[in-house]
Amino acid sequence: MTDSSNAKGPLVVEGNLADNERLKRESNFLRGTIEQDLSDRVTGGFTADNFQLIRFHGMYQQDDRDIRAERTKQKLEPLHNVMLRARMPGGIIKPEQWLAIHKFATDKTMYGSIRLTTRQTFQFHGVLKPNIKLMHQTLNSIGIDSIATAGDVNRNVLCTTNPVESELHQEAYEWATKISEHLLPKTRAYAEIWLDGEKLEGPEGKETQEPILGSNYLPRKFKTTVVIPPQNDVDVHANDLNFIAIADQGKLVGFNVLVGGGLAMTHGDKSTYPRKADDLGFVPLANTLDVAAAVVTTQRDWGNRVNRKNAKTKYTLDRVGTDVFKAEVEKRAGITFEDSRPYEFTGRGDRIGWVEGFDGKHHLALFIENGRLLDYPGKALKTGVAEIAKIHKGDFRMTANQNLIVAGVALEDKAQIEKIARDHGLMDDGVSKQRKDSMACVAFPTCPLAMAEAERYLPGLVDDVERILAKHNVADESIILRVTGCPNGCGRAMLAEIGLVGKGPGKYNMHLGGNVSGTRVPKMYKENLGEQDILTEIDTLVARWAVERNTNESFGDFVIRAGIIAEVKVSKRDFHD
């Protein structure tokens, strides 16, 4: 059953439009006055609307929050900088591209790191204003951009990282790229501002058509994936639009289309909740782009532009009803959805280590804790990847779990690559299953939304959880554990077996009851726990699980069966219940 089969709310929400609607409308197709701000030497930040508009160009204005108060006393503005999220559909990057981003991160960013993220791409953190144009031009010179990786648009399109089934993956990846390009803003603002591209004059210019996104763009962010079962590494239920690859005898024939997933919520606001996507049915390959556009335009026209907290596709579905939404998509795409084809998700993790693909090539998945590539004492991770890039003949694949795959290695090159990886701490046989199943968003010190630590908290937390598992003799087991610094969901804690959501410094809401394959939303178990309380709770729960569980029963399934937490079946009804 779908979450919204009975809803019959208005198709369009009337009322005073949110201020973001004004700024998009007045932005002259995402230009705003960004160029003036770039030449303003008095502040390292962007002003007013431009602060929001640069997101549509793939950047967020951030500052070093660790020293914000200190700088206030120093009569200095916050240490403004930008974070850039690249657009890399499917997360594939070539070695020469890698070497270029490695150099930029090393020379021109405050933190020097390359951050692999849950959007299956990389981020630069800490780029000062004078280096922003240089950054885009550097990326452009190697065929990378950051158009629409943030803001109210369709963002970077994810694709299952499965180099083993090489042929199917290649097809799926190509669709991810096509969908990304098809849904991209048509405005030339990005080229004009960052690449010194020619300006198109006036409202008569060709670009004044945004045929899919519209001149006001989307009501809210929009996320798309292409997924190849049984892997659910991209976490479909965190996304607005998902194409489930359906193969027949190893050939891709079409997609089941899932719409309306999303994990963001607002603390204390019960009209917001994480929600799974609904299955609309199967479409053959030829209709893929039409369906993608139809879903986006329906959400564009029906999404709530009055209240941004209820603007995502998931709320549109719950308001108008999934059947009504589906019928509109069919009308707009000129198709009729066939019944969904059967498929099954079995897990979400990456297979760390070497695997051999059907084509005889070898692939090495490197576990990168928190996705943060930086040279640490005794573990020069960033240098290690660069050294591999210098000799690697295949490509790299960034995963939605923030890991990195060295893909397409010939048998004779395996030993050399493995040596580099081991020498730089990129391969470590001692990494536990628990650590591989744990994830955190960035949070402090750079993310302006963070309410609590995430990335800096996770490694120590995992140490403690490993000790707890060992204490109860289940050290070989693991629990999907995710920490996110705020309720917006980058760390996808709302699809974890134990999800911790930042509430305040050192305080988290603890959610329980997600499952291994990522098809169940966990429910809040305890609110506002300190770090010690979290460990106490986990210890108590793991103690019971270790003794009382059925054969092979995962932690998330156990807590529901044991009545420790209620299952969230329909988010709107059950999540806050």
Binding site: R41, V42, T43, G44, I67, R68, A69, E70, R71, T72, K73, Q74, K75, L76, E77, L79, L128, P130, H267, G268, D269, M451, A452, K503, G504, P505, G506, K507, E527, N528
Partner: protein, 616 residues
């Protein structure tokens, strides 16, 4: 600060007919009319009494405080302390409601509000959210600190109310709002309606608080002629010369030392605040503050040890023309200069020690001067050992002299405080960290709350134009920024209409932009017309203020042609010279003048007091 002569119009007309040298001329009349344009009839009546009293008492007479029944245009100040925008939204709505009710409203983000203005407020509403574990939102940290600190003024004339936004799932629910409420109450302010603490669903609670408070205040804030206003004391200029001077410095309270360069800066620059208290000591923008300092006890100990003294040796020094006895440690700490080395000391010590190397240095005046500039007394002594009596050592050293710092504040803004911008002098000498005598004293050794001996050194050669409409060009890289901060405060307080153009430079934008947020604020308010910045180390090629002057040659010359005053403050040896060369170049090029004519042009500016320098 100066008193403006205020006369009601009818008095003026009467006197004007006689015109016997005592009536106002046309520009004075305009000034007066402008000054009184928005006075109410009651205020005009009061002003007439004030002036009558003044004419009877003569120029130096004390002014009587205003009678209690003066009505002033009352404003409702609404401050919001917002983290995510909720408090701002409520405050904005509240401001609209108040305005609709006919109330004059001053709505401000709490971070843009000068906390010191609190004491002149009559009505204040605060909408405050609370962060995570009970801390104030970032924007409110400073205000919160001020209100909880010892500088917070008594507020007996203030009527207020607080709306607190929070999340009851936190332990310290609405803490910031509660803090503000309690502090305002403790400072003597009167709560008009009780504080309301709102939870995440704040809409209805905040609305009813808003309606309630506006209803309560509506009557008193829309009356203009009733006698409810608080009493205001007009500022009184201290006419007579101060009793404090170099010989007789004021013992003032050292109230703040704040590093204002970022943590990754190569420099340590301090913003220093000194409280002049009830001393009556006054200064003007452009003046300098003399600071007496004590030497570092550790340095004194090192010096004593190098010469095998205990410090208990008795020495005689002339103090104010009389011989006085000190023990050596005391003399070296309080009386003698041991950080700045005189070339004469190099010569003296070379002879006493007979050290070959030092004798060579001393033989050439330039070499000796350079050596002296880079070596403190202890380093000279350590490099060339000699046997010397305590009295001989004392006699070979100069008496300590106070250091002068350009004042970085205007009293119109900071009242009884004086602010300085002090660069800590620090360098490495053979692995020893040496610090400047006075800058080390101010930056490292003095603690907040201790006393410091100061006096004002007037500088009439560095003054704002008398006419507030005259444009001003300020060139002050590094700590040369100090007097221009004072200039801006003064022009702000004067509501001077003239354009202001600041050139600032330093090493890096992120670490060394001294008083960055204040300059940003002045740009935003419109007081500062232009701000051009030169950060030498932010790019491959070095960029300095003189380069920015050249880039703006045409505009700069246009400002000069329309009467702008030009000020330079900062490093004498390089910056001031380079800037002057750039100015001459610009004048020659833009005015199509020869080099000689350009020099004439600048000389004329100097003679007209339109080109002033405070360099060191």
């Amino acid at each position: 600060m100066g008193e403006i002569v205020m006369l009601p119009e009818q008095h003026l007309k009467n006197q004007n007919t006689s015109n016997g040298g005592s009536a106002l001329d046309a520009s004075q009349l305009t000034q007066l009319q402008q000054a009184t344009a928005n006075y109410s009839s009651l205020q005009l009546a009061w002003a007439s009494g004030y002036l009558a009293a003044k004419s009877e008492q003569g120029q130096n007479a004390q002014v009587l405080p205003a009678p209690a029944a003066v009505a002033v245009a009352k404003t409702l100040t609404i401050l919001y302390a917002s983290q995510t925008g909720n408090a701002k939204g409520v405050a904005t709505q509240l401001a609209t409601t108040a305005t609709d009710a006919g109330i004059t409203v001053n709505l401000k983000n709490i971070s843009d509000y000068k906390a010191k203005s609190l004491k002149s407020e009559s009505h204040l509403l605060i909408v405050a959210s609370t962060n995570g574990e009970g801390e104030p939102p970032d924007d409110a940290i400073e205000f919160h600190e001020f209100l909880s600190g010892k500088k917070a003024p008594k507020l007996p004339n203030l009527r207020y109310s607080v709306l607190a936004l929070g999340d009851s799932s936190y332990e310290f629910f609405c803490q910031t709002g509660k803090d503000f409420d309690e502090r305002l109450k403790a400072l003597g302010a009167e709560q008009v309606t009780p504080r309301v603490d709102c939870d995440v669903d704040y809409d209805s609670d905040s609305q009813s608080w808003s309606l309630n408070i506006i209803e309560s205040l509506k009557e008193e804030l829309t009356q203009t002629d009733a006698g409810l206003a608080p009493v205001y004391d007009l500022p009184v200029t201290a006419g007579a010369a101060s009793q404090y001077n170099k010989q007789n410095p004021l013992l003032a309270e050292f109230s703040l030392s704040q590093k204002i360069t970022g943590r990754d800066s190569a420099k340590d620059v301090r913003h220093i605040e000194i409280d002049l208290g009830e001393s009556g000591l006054t200064y003007q923008a452009g003046d300098a503050l003399g600071v007496w300092f004590e030497n570092d006890k550790q340095l004194v100990a090192e010096l004593l040890a190098t010469l095998n003294f205990t410090g208990e040796e008795q020495v005689t020094l002339k103090v104010s023309g009389e011989d006085k006895s000190f023990n050596l440690e005391e003399a070296l700490t309080e009386q003698l200069e041991i950080t700045q080395t005189a070339p004469a000391f190099i010569e003296y010590w070379a002879n006493v020690s007979g050290d070959e190397a030092l004798l060579t240095v001393a033989a050439d005046k330039n070499t000796a001067r350079e050596y002296a500039a880079n070596h403190q007394i202890v380093d000279v002594i350590a490099a060339a050992k000699a046997d010397i009596s305590a009295q001989d050592l004392a006699d070979s050293l100069r008496k300590i002299t106070p250091r002068l710092y350009s004042i970085a504040s205007a009293q119109a803004e900071v009242e009884e405080e004086v602010h300085l911008t002090v660069g800590l002098v620090e360098y490495d000498e053979n692995g020893q960290l040496r610090t400047g005598g006075a800058s080390g004293y101010l930056a490292n050794r003095l603690e907040e709350g201790q006393s410091v001996k100061v006096f004002v050194e007037h500088n009439d050669n560095f003054r704002l134009p008398a006419n507030g409409d005259t444009p001003v060009i300020m060139i002050g890289p590094g700590t040369g920024v100090a007097p221009f901060r004072a200039f801006m405060q003064q022009r702000d307080a004067d509501e001077a209409a003239g354009d202001n153009w600041m050139f600032f430079g330093d090493q890096t934008f992120t670490q060394d932009f001294l008083y960055q947020v204040e300059w940003q604020g002045y740009l935003k308010s419109g007081l500062l017309t232009r701000l051009d910045l030169a950060f030498s180390r932010d790019q491959a090629e070095k960029i300095y203020v003189q380069d920015r002057l050249r880039e703006n040659a045409q505009e700069l010359f246009a400002w000069l042609e329309r009467g702008a005053h030009v000020y330079i403050c900062g490093d004498m040896s390089r910056m001031a010279k380079d800037v002057e060369a750039a100015l001459l170049e610009i004048i020659a090029e833009q005015g199509s003048l020869s080099e000689e004519q350009a020099k004439e042009y600048l000389k004329d500016l100097r003679n007209a007091k339109r080109y002033q320098k405070d360099v060191y």
